[in-house]
Symmetry: C2
Subunit: 233 residues, 2 copies
DNA sequence: ACGGATCCAATGGTGGATCCCG
DNA sequence: CGGGATCCACCATTGGATCCGT
Protein backbone atom coordinates (compact mmCIF):
# COMPACT_ATOMS: atom_id res chain seq x y z
CA UNK A 1 0.00 0.00 0.00
CA UNK A 2 2.51 2.58 1.12
CA UNK A 3 4.63 1.51 -1.83
CA UNK A 4 2.14 3.03 -4.16
CA UNK A 5 2.80 6.48 -2.75
CA UNK A 6 5.94 6.40 -4.82
CA UNK A 7 4.27 5.11 -7.93
CA UNK A 8 1.76 7.76 -8.72
CA UNK A 9 3.30 9.18 -11.89
CA UNK A 10 4.80 12.21 -10.20
CA UNK A 11 8.41 12.79 -11.35
CA UNK A 12 11.06 11.87 -8.80
CA UNK A 13 12.79 14.93 -7.36
CA UNK A 14 16.26 13.45 -7.05
CA UNK A 15 18.42 10.58 -8.17
CA UNK A 16 18.03 9.09 -4.72
CA UNK A 17 14.27 9.15 -5.01
CA UNK A 18 14.42 7.60 -8.48
CA UNK A 19 16.67 4.78 -7.24
CA UNK A 20 14.39 4.28 -4.27
CA UNK A 21 11.48 3.78 -6.64
CA UNK A 22 13.55 1.25 -8.56
CA UNK A 23 14.11 -0.68 -5.32
CA UNK A 24 10.38 -0.76 -4.76
CA UNK A 25 9.55 -2.19 -8.16
CA UNK A 26 12.48 -4.61 -8.27
CA UNK A 27 11.10 -8.12 -7.75
CA UNK A 28 7.61 -7.22 -8.86
CA UNK A 29 6.07 -8.63 -12.02
CA UNK A 30 4.87 -6.61 -14.98
CA UNK A 31 1.36 -7.78 -14.18
CA UNK A 32 1.55 -6.42 -10.62
CA UNK A 33 2.88 -3.08 -11.81
CA UNK A 34 0.31 -2.77 -14.60
CA UNK A 35 -2.47 -3.50 -12.11
CA UNK A 36 -1.39 -0.53 -9.99
CA UNK A 37 -2.07 1.77 -12.93
CA UNK A 38 -5.14 -0.12 -14.16
CA UNK A 39 -3.35 -0.97 -17.37
CA UNK A 40 -4.27 -4.11 -19.27
CA UNK A 41 -1.38 -6.45 -20.04
CA UNK A 42 -1.34 -7.59 -23.68
CA UNK A 43 -1.00 -11.31 -24.41
CA UNK A 44 2.45 -10.81 -25.90
CA UNK A 45 4.62 -8.09 -27.36
CA UNK A 46 4.26 -8.94 -31.04
CA UNK A 47 1.85 -6.09 -31.61
CA UNK A 48 2.89 -4.06 -28.58
CA UNK A 49 6.63 -3.82 -28.89
CA UNK A 50 7.18 -0.78 -26.74
CA UNK A 51 4.69 -1.72 -24.05
CA UNK A 52 7.18 -2.65 -21.32
CA UNK A 53 9.16 0.55 -21.76
CA UNK A 54 6.06 2.72 -21.65
CA UNK A 55 4.71 0.95 -18.58
CA UNK A 56 7.92 1.44 -16.64
CA UNK A 57 8.11 5.10 -17.65
CA UNK A 58 4.69 5.64 -16.17
CA UNK A 59 5.48 3.63 -13.06
CA UNK A 60 8.64 5.60 -12.38
CA UNK A 61 7.11 8.95 -13.23
CA UNK A 62 9.01 9.84 -16.39
CA UNK A 63 7.74 13.16 -17.62
CA UNK A 64 9.32 13.98 -20.96
CA UNK A 65 6.62 12.41 -23.10
CA UNK A 66 7.72 12.30 -26.70
CA UNK A 67 9.97 15.33 -26.50
CA UNK A 68 13.61 15.51 -27.42
CA UNK A 69 14.54 15.46 -23.75
CA UNK A 70 15.68 12.91 -21.20
CA UNK A 71 12.86 10.83 -19.76
CA UNK A 72 13.41 12.40 -16.38
CA UNK A 73 13.64 16.02 -17.42
CA UNK A 74 14.76 17.48 -14.16
CA UNK A 75 17.44 14.89 -13.53
CA UNK A 76 18.80 14.59 -17.07
CA UNK A 77 18.36 10.83 -16.96
CA UNK A 78 17.29 8.55 -19.80
CA UNK A 79 15.37 5.38 -18.99
CA UNK A 80 16.16 2.19 -20.92
CA UNK A 81 14.68 -1.20 -20.28
CA UNK A 82 17.09 -4.08 -20.76
CA UNK A 83 15.31 -7.25 -21.95
CA UNK A 84 16.97 -10.33 -20.45
CA UNK A 85 17.05 -13.75 -22.07
CA UNK A 86 16.65 -16.91 -19.98
CA UNK A 87 20.40 -16.98 -19.34
CA UNK A 88 20.34 -13.47 -17.89
CA UNK A 89 22.09 -11.69 -20.73
CA UNK A 90 20.52 -8.99 -22.92
CA UNK A 91 18.25 -10.54 -25.50
CA UNK A 92 18.15 -7.65 -27.94
CA UNK A 93 20.14 -4.66 -29.06
CA UNK A 94 19.06 -1.35 -27.50
CA UNK A 95 17.60 1.40 -29.62
CA UNK A 96 19.12 4.79 -28.81
CA UNK A 97 17.93 7.44 -31.25
CA UNK A 98 17.23 8.12 -34.91
CA UNK A 99 19.97 8.91 -37.39
CA UNK A 100 19.55 12.35 -38.90
CA UNK A 101 19.72 11.93 -42.65
CA UNK A 102 19.80 15.68 -43.33
CA UNK A 103 22.68 16.90 -41.20
CA UNK A 104 25.03 13.95 -41.45
CA UNK A 105 28.10 15.91 -42.45
CA UNK A 106 27.67 18.91 -40.19
CA UNK A 107 27.56 17.24 -36.85
CA UNK A 108 30.38 16.49 -34.43
CA UNK A 109 30.48 13.95 -31.62
CA UNK A 110 30.44 16.66 -28.96
CA UNK A 111 27.11 17.97 -30.22
CA UNK A 112 25.41 14.78 -31.31
CA UNK A 113 22.14 13.48 -30.01
CA UNK A 114 23.45 9.98 -29.31
CA UNK A 115 26.08 11.31 -26.92
CA UNK A 116 23.50 13.35 -25.02
CA UNK A 117 21.08 10.43 -24.88
CA UNK A 118 23.70 8.16 -23.37
CA UNK A 119 25.19 10.72 -20.97
CA UNK A 120 23.27 9.25 -18.04
CA UNK A 121 21.06 6.17 -18.33
CA UNK A 122 18.90 4.33 -15.84
CA UNK A 123 19.06 0.69 -16.96
CA UNK A 124 16.10 -1.39 -15.88
CA UNK A 125 16.53 -5.16 -16.47
CA UNK A 126 13.32 -7.02 -17.26
CA UNK A 127 12.78 -10.69 -17.98
CA UNK A 128 12.13 -11.20 -21.68
CA UNK A 129 12.13 -14.94 -22.17
CA UNK A 130 9.10 -15.57 -24.36
CA UNK A 131 8.28 -18.79 -22.54
CA UNK A 132 7.26 -16.66 -19.54
CA UNK A 133 3.83 -15.03 -19.93
CA UNK A 134 4.26 -11.27 -20.17
CA UNK A 135 2.36 -10.48 -16.96
CA UNK A 136 4.54 -12.89 -14.95
CA UNK A 137 7.91 -11.46 -15.95
CA UNK A 138 9.95 -9.93 -13.13
CA UNK A 139 11.57 -6.53 -13.10
CA UNK A 140 15.14 -6.48 -11.86
CA UNK A 141 17.14 -3.85 -10.00
CA UNK A 142 17.59 -0.68 -11.96
CA UNK A 143 20.95 1.07 -11.87
CA UNK A 144 22.41 4.33 -13.07
CA UNK A 145 25.16 4.27 -15.67
CA UNK A 146 27.42 6.84 -17.23
CA UNK A 147 29.87 5.70 -19.90
CA UNK A 148 33.42 5.44 -18.59
CA UNK A 149 36.27 6.93 -20.68
CA UNK A 150 36.87 3.67 -22.52
CA UNK A 151 33.20 3.30 -23.38
CA UNK A 152 33.05 6.92 -24.52
CA UNK A 153 36.02 6.28 -26.81
CA UNK A 154 34.34 3.21 -28.32
CA UNK A 155 31.07 5.02 -28.87
CA UNK A 156 32.80 8.04 -30.38
CA UNK A 157 34.86 5.89 -32.72
CA UNK A 158 31.87 3.93 -33.94
CA UNK A 159 29.71 7.02 -34.28
CA UNK A 160 32.31 8.79 -36.39
CA UNK A 161 32.91 5.72 -38.55
CA UNK A 162 29.20 5.26 -39.17
CA UNK A 163 28.55 8.91 -39.89
CA UNK A 164 31.50 9.01 -42.27
CA UNK A 165 30.18 5.96 -44.08
CA UNK A 166 26.81 7.68 -44.40
CA UNK A 167 28.35 10.82 -45.87
CA UNK A 168 30.66 8.97 -48.22
CA UNK A 169 28.40 6.24 -49.57
CA UNK A 170 24.89 7.15 -48.50
CA UNK A 171 22.53 4.55 -47.14
CA UNK A 172 23.73 2.00 -49.70
CA UNK A 173 27.17 1.97 -48.11
CA UNK A 174 25.81 1.22 -44.68
CA UNK A 175 25.39 -2.16 -43.09
CA UNK A 176 24.34 -3.15 -39.60
CA UNK A 177 27.60 -5.10 -39.56
CA UNK A 178 29.65 -1.94 -39.10
CA UNK A 179 30.52 -0.73 -35.63
CA UNK A 180 31.93 -2.56 -32.62
CA UNK A 181 29.43 -1.43 -30.00
CA UNK A 182 27.06 0.65 -32.09
CA UNK A 183 25.19 -0.14 -35.29
CA UNK A 184 22.74 1.52 -37.65
CA UNK A 185 19.56 -0.37 -38.52
CA UNK A 186 16.12 0.48 -39.92
CA UNK A 187 13.78 2.30 -37.57
CA UNK A 188 10.27 2.70 -38.93
CA UNK A 189 6.80 1.23 -39.08
CA UNK A 190 7.92 -0.68 -42.18
CA UNK A 191 10.29 -0.57 -45.11
CA UNK A 192 7.86 1.52 -47.20
CA UNK A 193 8.20 4.44 -44.78
CA UNK A 194 10.41 7.17 -46.19
CA UNK A 195 12.08 10.17 -44.59
CA UNK A 196 13.75 13.17 -46.13
CA UNK A 197 17.48 12.86 -46.69
CA UNK A 198 20.22 14.58 -48.65
CA UNK A 199 21.89 12.82 -51.58
CA UNK A 200 25.57 12.95 -52.58
CA UNK A 201 24.89 15.82 -54.96
CA UNK A 202 23.09 17.82 -52.27
CA UNK A 203 19.59 17.25 -53.62
CA UNK A 204 16.77 16.05 -51.41
CA UNK A 205 15.84 12.39 -51.67
CA UNK A 206 13.75 9.89 -49.72
CA UNK A 207 15.30 7.13 -47.65
CA UNK A 208 14.26 4.59 -45.08
CA UNK A 209 14.59 6.02 -41.60
CA UNK A 210 17.45 4.55 -39.56
CA UNK A 211 18.30 4.36 -35.90
CA UNK A 212 21.37 3.90 -33.73
CA UNK A 213 21.38 0.73 -31.65
CA UNK A 214 23.75 -0.50 -28.93
CA UNK A 215 24.90 -4.05 -29.65
CA UNK A 216 23.81 -6.45 -26.92
CA UNK A 217 27.44 -7.41 -26.31
CA UNK A 218 27.98 -3.83 -25.14
CA UNK A 219 24.98 -3.73 -22.83
CA UNK A 220 26.02 -7.13 -21.50
CA UNK A 221 29.29 -5.56 -20.35
CA UNK A 222 27.43 -2.72 -18.67
CA UNK A 223 25.26 -5.24 -16.87
CA UNK A 224 28.25 -7.33 -15.75
CA UNK A 225 30.15 -4.29 -14.48
CA UNK A 226 27.19 -3.32 -12.37
CA UNK A 227 26.93 -6.78 -10.83
CA UNK A 228 30.64 -6.78 -10.00
CA UNK A 229 30.30 -3.37 -8.48
CA UNK A 230 27.45 -4.49 -6.26
CA UNK A 231 29.27 -7.59 -5.08
CA UNK A 232 32.18 -5.41 -4.03
CA UNK A 233 29.93 -3.45 -1.65
CA UNK B 1 -27.64 4.64 -60.52
CA UNK B 2 -25.49 5.41 -63.54
CA UNK B 3 -24.63 8.72 -61.91
CA UNK B 4 -22.73 6.91 -59.26
CA UNK B 5 -20.28 5.55 -61.78
CA UNK B 6 -18.76 8.99 -61.70
CA UNK B 7 -18.77 9.27 -57.95
CA UNK B 8 -16.62 6.42 -56.84
CA UNK B 9 -13.66 8.33 -55.49
CA UNK B 10 -11.46 7.77 -58.54
CA UNK B 11 -9.69 10.98 -59.60
CA UNK B 12 -11.10 12.62 -62.72
CA UNK B 13 -8.75 12.31 -65.69
CA UNK B 14 -9.45 15.69 -67.26
CA UNK B 15 -11.00 19.08 -66.56
CA UNK B 16 -13.93 18.04 -68.70
CA UNK B 17 -14.53 14.97 -66.57
CA UNK B 18 -14.26 17.02 -63.38
CA UNK B 19 -16.79 19.57 -64.64
CA UNK B 20 -19.06 16.73 -65.74
CA UNK B 21 -19.01 15.38 -62.19
CA UNK B 22 -19.90 18.86 -60.94
CA UNK B 23 -22.92 18.87 -63.25
CA UNK B 24 -24.02 15.58 -61.77
CA UNK B 25 -23.88 16.72 -58.18
CA UNK B 26 -25.32 20.18 -58.84
CA UNK B 27 -28.86 20.23 -57.50
CA UNK B 28 -28.31 17.36 -55.11
CA UNK B 29 -28.39 17.81 -51.35
CA UNK B 30 -25.54 17.11 -48.97
CA UNK B 31 -27.66 14.34 -47.48
CA UNK B 32 -28.05 12.63 -50.86
CA UNK B 33 -24.36 12.86 -51.60
CA UNK B 34 -23.36 11.61 -48.15
CA UNK B 35 -25.70 8.65 -48.53
CA UNK B 36 -23.87 7.57 -51.69
CA UNK B 37 -20.67 7.18 -49.67
CA UNK B 38 -22.38 5.82 -46.56
CA UNK B 39 -21.27 8.86 -44.61
CA UNK B 40 -23.33 10.07 -41.64
CA UNK B 41 -24.41 13.70 -41.79
CA UNK B 42 -23.73 15.55 -38.51
CA UNK B 43 -26.54 17.58 -36.96
CA UNK B 44 -24.71 20.82 -37.65
CA UNK B 45 -21.23 22.11 -38.41
CA UNK B 46 -20.37 23.54 -34.99
CA UNK B 47 -18.15 20.58 -34.19
CA UNK B 48 -17.56 19.50 -37.79
CA UNK B 49 -16.43 22.68 -39.50
CA UNK B 50 -14.64 21.09 -42.42
CA UNK B 51 -17.21 18.40 -43.06
CA UNK B 52 -18.76 19.81 -46.24
CA UNK B 53 -15.38 20.38 -47.86
CA UNK B 54 -14.19 16.88 -47.04
CA UNK B 55 -17.41 15.30 -48.29
CA UNK B 56 -17.19 17.06 -51.64
CA UNK B 57 -13.53 16.15 -52.03
CA UNK B 58 -14.46 12.50 -51.66
CA UNK B 59 -17.46 12.81 -53.96
CA UNK B 60 -15.40 14.42 -56.70
CA UNK B 61 -12.43 12.12 -56.26
CA UNK B 62 -9.81 14.55 -54.96
CA UNK B 63 -6.64 12.61 -54.35
CA UNK B 64 -4.08 14.86 -52.72
CA UNK B 65 -5.04 14.01 -49.16
CA UNK B 66 -3.29 16.33 -46.77
CA UNK B 67 -0.29 16.96 -48.97
CA UNK B 68 1.06 20.27 -50.12
CA UNK B 69 -0.47 19.71 -53.53
CA UNK B 70 -3.60 20.70 -55.39
CA UNK B 71 -6.63 18.65 -54.47
CA UNK B 72 -6.70 17.18 -57.96
CA UNK B 73 -3.04 16.34 -58.32
CA UNK B 74 -3.02 15.48 -61.97
CA UNK B 75 -5.02 18.50 -63.05
CA UNK B 76 -3.38 21.11 -60.81
CA UNK B 77 -6.78 22.18 -59.53
CA UNK B 78 -7.67 23.27 -55.99
CA UNK B 79 -11.19 22.62 -54.69
CA UNK B 80 -12.90 25.27 -52.57
CA UNK B 81 -16.44 25.14 -51.30
CA UNK B 82 -18.20 28.51 -51.25
CA UNK B 83 -20.75 28.72 -48.43
CA UNK B 84 -23.75 30.79 -49.53
CA UNK B 85 -25.96 32.83 -47.22
CA UNK B 86 -29.74 32.97 -47.73
CA UNK B 87 -29.30 35.90 -50.12
CA UNK B 88 -26.96 33.91 -52.34
CA UNK B 89 -23.75 35.73 -51.48
CA UNK B 90 -20.74 34.16 -49.75
CA UNK B 91 -21.38 33.84 -46.04
CA UNK B 92 -17.77 33.51 -44.92
CA UNK B 93 -14.27 34.41 -45.94
CA UNK B 94 -12.36 31.60 -47.66
CA UNK B 95 -9.30 30.06 -46.06
CA UNK B 96 -6.44 29.68 -48.52
CA UNK B 97 -3.29 28.52 -46.76
CA UNK B 98 -1.17 29.03 -43.68
CA UNK B 99 1.24 31.92 -43.30
CA UNK B 100 4.80 30.74 -42.92
CA UNK B 101 6.23 32.45 -39.88
CA UNK B 102 9.76 31.24 -40.52
CA UNK B 103 10.43 32.38 -44.08
CA UNK B 104 8.51 35.62 -44.16
CA UNK B 105 11.31 37.74 -45.49
CA UNK B 106 12.78 35.36 -47.99
CA UNK B 107 9.77 34.70 -50.13
CA UNK B 108 8.60 36.47 -53.26
CA UNK B 109 5.13 36.55 -54.80
CA UNK B 110 6.26 34.47 -57.74
CA UNK B 111 7.24 31.61 -55.45
CA UNK B 112 4.64 31.87 -52.71
CA UNK B 113 2.25 29.18 -51.71
CA UNK B 114 -0.82 31.40 -51.88
CA UNK B 115 -0.21 32.17 -55.54
CA UNK B 116 0.16 28.50 -56.37
CA UNK B 117 -2.95 27.58 -54.39
CA UNK B 118 -5.04 30.13 -56.25
CA UNK B 119 -3.63 29.45 -59.70
CA UNK B 120 -6.65 27.33 -60.65
CA UNK B 121 -9.63 26.82 -58.37
CA UNK B 122 -12.80 24.82 -58.69
CA UNK B 123 -15.40 26.81 -56.77
CA UNK B 124 -18.32 24.77 -55.52
CA UNK B 125 -21.19 26.85 -54.10
CA UNK B 126 -23.12 25.21 -51.26
CA UNK B 127 -26.08 26.50 -49.30
CA UNK B 128 -24.96 27.52 -45.84
CA UNK B 129 -27.97 29.20 -44.29
CA UNK B 130 -28.14 27.72 -40.82
CA UNK B 131 -31.92 27.66 -40.87
CA UNK B 132 -31.66 24.83 -43.43
CA UNK B 133 -30.79 21.45 -41.89
CA UNK B 134 -27.34 20.39 -43.07
CA UNK B 135 -28.52 17.30 -44.93
CA UNK B 136 -31.06 19.32 -46.91
CA UNK B 137 -28.67 21.95 -48.26
CA UNK B 138 -28.22 22.00 -52.02
CA UNK B 139 -24.94 21.99 -53.88
CA UNK B 140 -24.74 24.53 -56.72
CA UNK B 141 -22.92 24.42 -60.03
CA UNK B 142 -19.18 24.29 -59.64
CA UNK B 143 -17.01 26.37 -61.95
CA UNK B 144 -13.34 26.73 -62.71
CA UNK B 145 -11.64 30.03 -62.01
CA UNK B 146 -8.23 31.47 -62.67
CA UNK B 147 -7.50 34.98 -61.41
CA UNK B 148 -7.58 37.56 -64.19
CA UNK B 149 -4.74 40.11 -64.41
CA UNK B 150 -6.58 42.62 -62.24
CA UNK B 151 -7.27 40.02 -59.55
CA UNK B 152 -3.66 38.87 -59.67
CA UNK B 153 -2.55 42.46 -59.13
CA UNK B 154 -4.84 42.88 -56.14
CA UNK B 155 -3.72 39.61 -54.57
CA UNK B 156 -0.06 40.38 -55.16
CA UNK B 157 -0.41 43.87 -53.68
CA UNK B 158 -2.16 42.59 -50.55
CA UNK B 159 0.20 39.67 -50.13
CA UNK B 160 3.24 41.93 -50.31
CA UNK B 161 1.72 44.47 -47.92
CA UNK B 162 0.83 41.78 -45.40
CA UNK B 163 4.18 40.03 -45.60
CA UNK B 164 5.97 43.36 -45.24
CA UNK B 165 3.90 44.15 -42.17
CA UNK B 166 4.83 40.76 -40.72
CA UNK B 167 8.53 41.32 -41.28
CA UNK B 168 8.50 44.88 -39.98
CA UNK B 169 6.30 44.55 -36.93
CA UNK B 170 5.83 40.87 -36.32
CA UNK B 171 2.45 39.44 -35.42
CA UNK B 172 1.72 42.41 -33.17
CA UNK B 173 1.71 44.71 -36.18
CA UNK B 174 -0.83 42.60 -38.02
CA UNK B 175 -4.56 43.06 -38.05
CA UNK B 176 -7.23 41.26 -40.03
CA UNK B 177 -8.25 44.77 -41.11
CA UNK B 178 -5.31 45.01 -43.48
CA UNK B 179 -5.68 43.99 -47.11
CA UNK B 180 -8.35 44.77 -49.67
CA UNK B 181 -9.11 41.24 -50.86
CA UNK B 182 -6.85 39.19 -48.61
CA UNK B 183 -6.46 39.14 -44.85
CA UNK B 184 -4.45 37.30 -42.22
CA UNK B 185 -6.34 35.74 -39.32
CA UNK B 186 -5.70 33.03 -36.72
CA UNK B 187 -5.70 29.45 -37.99
CA UNK B 188 -5.45 26.87 -35.24
CA UNK B 189 -7.38 24.66 -32.89
CA UNK B 190 -7.40 27.54 -30.39
CA UNK B 191 -5.46 30.57 -29.28
CA UNK B 192 -3.21 28.51 -27.00
CA UNK B 193 -1.71 26.69 -29.98
CA UNK B 194 1.76 27.97 -30.82
CA UNK B 195 3.94 27.53 -33.89
CA UNK B 196 7.60 28.27 -34.42
CA UNK B 197 8.38 31.71 -35.78
CA UNK B 198 11.33 34.05 -36.15
CA UNK B 199 11.55 37.24 -34.13
CA UNK B 200 12.88 40.63 -35.24
CA UNK B 201 16.31 39.76 -33.88
CA UNK B 202 16.40 36.45 -35.72
CA UNK B 203 15.81 34.29 -32.66
CA UNK B 204 13.15 31.61 -32.60
CA UNK B 205 9.93 32.41 -30.79
CA UNK B 206 6.45 30.93 -30.50
CA UNK B 207 3.44 32.57 -32.13
CA UNK B 208 -0.16 31.78 -32.89
CA UNK B 209 -0.45 30.15 -36.30
CA UNK B 210 -2.07 32.38 -38.94
CA UNK B 211 -3.72 31.78 -42.26
CA UNK B 212 -4.49 33.75 -45.41
CA UNK B 213 -8.18 34.26 -46.12
CA UNK B 214 -9.98 35.71 -49.13
CA UNK B 215 -12.49 38.34 -48.05
CA UNK B 216 -16.03 37.38 -48.98
CA UNK B 217 -16.38 40.59 -50.99
CA UNK B 218 -13.72 39.16 -53.31
CA UNK B 219 -15.31 35.75 -53.69
CA UNK B 220 -18.65 37.49 -54.25
CA UNK B 221 -17.13 39.16 -57.31
CA UNK B 222 -15.84 35.86 -58.58
CA UNK B 223 -19.30 34.37 -58.18
CA UNK B 224 -20.99 37.29 -59.95
CA UNK B 225 -18.55 37.20 -62.83
CA UNK B 226 -19.28 33.53 -63.35
CA UNK B 227 -23.04 34.11 -63.41
CA UNK B 228 -22.63 36.92 -65.94
CA UNK B 229 -20.43 34.69 -68.03
CA UNK B 230 -23.00 31.90 -68.06
CA UNK B 231 -25.86 34.23 -68.98
CA UNK B 232 -23.84 35.41 -71.94
CA UNK B 233 -23.63 31.87 -73.36
C1' DA C 1 -20.38 42.39 -39.59
C1' DC C 2 -16.35 40.63 -39.09
C1' DG C 3 -12.04 39.92 -36.47
C1' DG C 4 -10.47 36.80 -33.41
C1' DA C 5 -11.32 32.13 -31.72
C1' DT C 6 -12.32 27.67 -32.47
C1' DC C 7 -13.38 22.50 -34.10
C1' DC C 8 -12.66 17.63 -36.30
C1' DA C 9 -10.36 14.00 -39.11
C1' DA C 10 -6.50 12.25 -40.98
C1' DT C 11 -1.65 11.97 -41.42
C1' DG C 12 3.20 11.97 -40.31
C1' DG C 13 6.76 11.73 -37.15
C1' DT C 14 8.76 10.29 -32.65
C1' DG C 15 9.52 7.36 -28.77
C1' DG C 16 8.87 2.96 -26.94
C1' DA C 17 11.18 -1.36 -28.75
C1' DT C 18 10.79 -6.67 -30.47
C1' DC C 19 9.95 -9.82 -34.36
C1' DC C 20 11.52 -13.25 -37.59
C1' DC C 21 13.60 -15.44 -41.61
C1' DG C 22 17.72 -17.01 -43.92
C1' DC D 1 22.19 -15.19 -34.64
C1' DG D 2 21.48 -11.01 -35.84
C1' DG D 3 20.47 -7.85 -39.74
C1' DG D 4 16.64 -6.17 -41.81
C1' DA D 5 11.69 -5.53 -41.04
C1' DT D 6 8.15 -4.39 -38.31
C1' DC D 7 4.46 -2.78 -34.55
C1' DC D 8 1.66 0.49 -31.32
C1' DA D 9 0.59 4.83 -28.78
C1' DC D 10 0.73 9.39 -28.70
C1' DC D 11 1.27 14.08 -30.16
C1' DA D 12 1.80 17.77 -33.37
C1' DT D 13 0.56 19.41 -37.69
C1' DT D 14 -2.19 20.08 -41.73
C1' DG D 15 -6.26 20.52 -44.43
C1' DG D 16 -11.02 21.07 -44.27
C1' DA D 17 -13.39 25.49 -42.68
C1' DT D 18 -17.30 27.90 -39.47
C1' DC D 19 -18.43 29.91 -34.95
C1' DC D 20 -19.62 33.81 -32.11
C1' DG D 21 -19.06 37.93 -29.10
C1' DT D 22 -18.57 42.85 -29.40
Amino acid sequence: MSDEIYLNQVPPQSEAELLQRCQIIAGQTLGQLAAQLNIVVPADLRRHKGWVGSLLEKILGADAGNHAEPDFTGLGIELKTLPLAANGSPKESTYVCTVSLTETGELRWQDCWLRRKLAKVLWLPVEADNTIPLAERYVGEGFLWQPDPEQVALLKQDWEELMDALVLSGQAGLSARQGQVLQIRPKAANSRVLAQAIADDGSFIQQNPRGFYLRSEFTAQILQANKACRLAD
